[in-house]
Amino acid sequence: MRTWMSGCQAVYRRLSRAFPHEFRMVCGDGLERLGEDLAPLIWRDQGVLGLIRLFTDIALRLPLEHMMTWVNTTKEATMTGDLFEGTWKATKSERVQWDPAYPQPQQTCLRLEATETGYLMVAYGIVDGQACAERPQSIFSDGRRRPLVDLNGRPIPGVPAGAVTFGGCPDSHTLEVGAEIDGKVLGAGTYKVSADGNTMTVTNEGIGLKGPFKVITVFERVVPDPYLPVS
């Protein structure tokens, strides 16, 4: 009987060690220890039926854990390296809030490319049936303040001279940017990516040509990214 039980424990140990690395990193050798300790007790109290249940439990869990690990690996492989980087398309979410003083676009897309100091952002879409695009702009996320000028270092029409822009990441999913002049806020924006990396809520507020405005737009990540070459 002792040999039979040792055999059961050895099989249980082998099955436990076949669990994915991710599982064993979190649980250590707890599973194999517990199974080995429990097998004689189960045999004593419940006999063969108990042992069948003990082995059924691990036999069902083993492929499930491998499948979960595989799903996680696939998810990570399909995510872009940077949470913000990529192409985003505006949705018709209920959270969207548009300032009526400005024409609401029929379609809005954002393209964010990571740079050494933050991101290069291009916004484009369809307004009043016409395709249009904003000038590309730099979004800084390194906390430093810089003159608010265009990509060539020239003044931006409508932006007062001396305006500065700045930005930072209060957490890994949020990017906060702003512009001010002499301590007076010209505008502020928050880019918040959801936990799964697929949705981005952008809140922009400030003072525009027609007075103060506040706009909330919800974007969905465009997958596959149309700007990446198809391998």
């Binding site: 599973l31 517990l34 199974g35 429990l38 003990l54 869990r61 999913h173 936990a195």
Partner: protein, 116 residues
Amino acid sequence: MPRKPPETFLPLKSNWLHILLSLVEGEQHGYGIMQDVLERSDGKVRLWPATLYGSLKRLIQEGLIGESSERPAPELDDARRRYYKLTPLGRRVLDLESERLRGLVRALQAKRKLEA
């Protein structure tokens, strides 16, 4: 990664609820949790090892429990064992779940009164 809000875990899976309940009074190792659940349910609920450790893994990943770095007194300790404890998020989720269950019981009692 930001944690999910506690409400998103409700209703709690039965296994998760049993495990969290076992950790309310303090840290426990896997075998201790299993025994506690078995005793509390009068032998009706047995968390088999792979199910138990699968749930512990998920609870750790979701931030509801954590591995304890503190060890019991050496004479009471088995160095092989890992001890688990509730996190503040786990405690909050458990509070919300107990409130939800209380609400269900209240609703059931109210219906029974109407029937009587």
